[in-house]
């Protein structure tokens, strides 16, 4: 790929040596982590390794792979953030209405829509939206780009659909479970109006599992972005990844997969921490662990 087509066997072997591809896999893995110094004079084959966020240069564009990723990641983050906002704003009220008015017409509508949303492939939905809104009605452009907010409408809807569906179903089932609990009956029995019962007593508890799901969904958003970005040709991390895979641009593939995995893990960590703030039971658990540790260290110092 780097060498011309008529390269000889010897050229190929030399190139493999310069790029460190002739080393055993275990050694290459250490290169991947801690960096690789190329035996050739050309310093563009050397890289500092994952721990220094440097996995070398793209075979195609010859730019450092992480630079491309860091440039494009804000675009993906923007898209995911909008999609997350939209899905939370839609799904939680929908789920609550659906649960508090079980078997009513709005409940039916929410249930059917969320089942459809769950079953629709995002890339297909995106293309159908393009056909309706770009080709037929000419309201929104079919290509998205981060500098034009209007062009983001369709991709955000596409990306948010699956999440909205999942969260609405989760909110509904969790709310249904909670409003059958004894303490809700108590709250009603003491004469609280229904709105207050739902808002003060049921909602807080019902939202805990929903937050977990939303957290997991953030990770899924990043991945769903791969498909959505491809459909709308949006310059995000998903299109980098797909392009790199199609062109067999190994450093770029490695870097983008690792990068998304790291972001995914960080997001999950943040969700776990947020969780502790929302749920007093979990907070209490952490506090008691902290207290035990403090006591232990006090005990040792005596």
């Amino acid at each position: 790929m780097i060498l011309p087509q008529d390269a000889t066997e010897a050229d190929i072997a030399q190139m493999r040596h310069f790029m460190g591809l002739d080393e055993p896999f275990i050694k290459q893995y250490f290169h991947f982590l801690f960096g690789f110094k190329s035996p050739s004079d050309d310093s563009s084959f050397s890289y500092k390794g994952l721990l220094a966020l440097d996995l070398g240069r793209s075979y195609v564009s010859n730019r450092p792979v992480f630079r491309t990723i860091l440039e494009r990641f804000p675009n993906t983050a923007l898209l995911s953030l909008f999609a997350l906002l939209l899905s939370v704003l839609l799904s939680i009220p929908a789920g609550i209405i659906s649960a508090t008015h079980q078997y009513s017409v709005p409940d039916m509508i929410v249930s059917i829509l969320s089942l459809l949303g769950l079953s629709m492939p995002a890339f297909w939905l995106g293309m159908i939206l393009i056909w309706i809104f770009s080709v037929q009605l000419k309201i929104f452009p079919s290509l998205a780009n981060p500098n034009n907010l209007k062009s983001l409408v369709l991709p955000v809807i596409t990306l948010a659909t699956m999440n909205t569906a999942v969260q609405a179903r989760m909110t509904r089932s969790s709310m249904l479970e909670i409003i059958r609990q004894d303490y809700i009956r108590t709250a009603r029995a003491k004469g609280l109006e229904e709105k207050k019962v739902i808002r003060r007593h049921a909602l807080n508890n019902a939202l805990i599992p929903v937050v977990t799901v939303i957290g997991l969904q953030v990770g899924q958003l990043l991945v769903g972005a791969v498909l959505t970005e491809t459909v709308f040709s949006y310059p995000g991390i998903g299109t980098i990844m797909v392009d790199a895979i199609q062109r067999k641009d190994t450093p770029q593939i490695l870097a983008s997969v690792v990068f998304v995995a790291i972001v995914f893990a960080l997001v999950n960590l943040v969700v776990d921490i947020v969780y502790a703030f929302i749920d007093p039971r979990i907070r209490a658990q952490y506090e008691s662990i902290a207290k035990i540790k403090v006591n232990n260290s006090l005990g040792k110092s005596k």
Partner: protein, 309 residues
């Protein structure tokens, strides 16, 4: 001797129906779930008898002159040196191939992918989960931490990585989706084994001197099947969706195979001239996934007596 036989004997001598009848009675009440089952049966029949409707050669052979034929039109085609008039029920794609035929053959590919990946993930995942739950200790830590590693990378991303490393082909696609489906089964199986493990009938089996393998296979597993069956149904939906997504990105089944994601990826370039090439394969995917989701929901309600209202 066997706890399950014992229970079913009591059940059959008394007025109670057998477990399956009881399950079916509850499942049947959910009209949507029954509809889902019908749709899936329809697709399976389509997949089995695909060659009866359209021959594979016919739907992969180009008929350029009929490209983008509208639905419900007929046009002359050349097939095996014969000129015949062909009626395009759902129109033709960019190479003039019959879309209905491709959807029917695509059903075969999708069903194979769905069933085989989930069968693989279900067997491997349940076995690992059962071992982890039953033995505990270090074995459990190793198995569960490994699944945590798998879970740390989002599903499709992991599949993408596998396909990127091994190259796009049918086997690699199956492998990628199969592996990413394993963790859900491991976790479910382990959780339900933990609840069953300390019950009296397991102790009884141990007291009778049954081996570990027999206890796991005959006494524990059958009592943990409900969540696994539900997960398998939802898993098939997920796996078909992943496969179409990967094919859409050009990383799964390669053209000219009639895969639904593939067809959509071709249709993408012609959204403005030929929306029908886009509409029908997507509808096919959606109805299948919807049907599996409905079945999954129905099974969950029917198998889990706690949710009985």
């Amino acid at each position: 001797m066997d706890n399950n036989n014992f229970i079913s004997q009591i059940a059959s001598t008394g007025k109670r129906k057998t477990a399956f009848e009881e399950f079916w009675r509850r499942y049947r009440k959910n009209k949507l779930a029954v509809a889902g089952l019908l749709i899936v049966v329809l697709y399976i029949l389509m997949a089995i008898f695909a060659d009866v409707f359209f021959s594979y050669d016919f739907i992969t052979q180009n008929q350029i002159s009929n490209a983008f034929a509208e639905p419900f039109t007929s046009a002359e085609i050349e097939y095996k040196d014969n000129f015949t008039n062909h009626f395009y029920v759902l129109g033709a794609d960019n190479f003039g191939r019959d879309i209905l035929g491709r959807i029917i053959h695509g059903a075969r590919i999708s069903m194979i992918i769905g069933f085989s990946t989930i069968a693989f993930a279900c067997v491997v995942g349940s076995a690992l989960g059962a071992i982890a739950g039953y033995y505990g200790g270090r074995v459990e830590s190793i198995i569960m931490r490994s699944t945590d590693i798998l879970l740390a990378i989002p599903n499709i991303l992991f599949a993408l990585a596998i396909v990127a490393a091994l190259g796009p082909s049918f086997q690699n696609l199956l492998l990628a989706i199969g592996i990413t489906s394993i963790p859900a089964f491991v976790r479910l199986m382990r959780a339900s084994v933990l609840t069953v493990k300390n019950q009296e009938f397991i102790e009884a089996a141990k007291a009778l001197g049954a081996r570990d393998f027999r206890i796991i296979a005959r006494h524990i597993m059958p009592n943990c099947m409900a969540p696994i069956i539900v997960q398998a149904t939802l898993g098939i939906a997920q796996s078909i969706l992943s496969a179409t997504s990967l094919s859409f990105l050009g990383l799964g089944i390669q053209p000219p195979s009639p895969e639904w994601g593939n067809m959509l990826s071709d249709a993408r370039s012609y959204i403005s001239y030929a929306p029908h090439t886009l509409l029908f394969p997507g509808l096919a995917i959606m109805t299948v996934i919807l049907a599996y989701n409905l079945i999954g929901d129905g099974l969950r309600d029917a198998l889990d007596p706690k949710l009985k209202r």
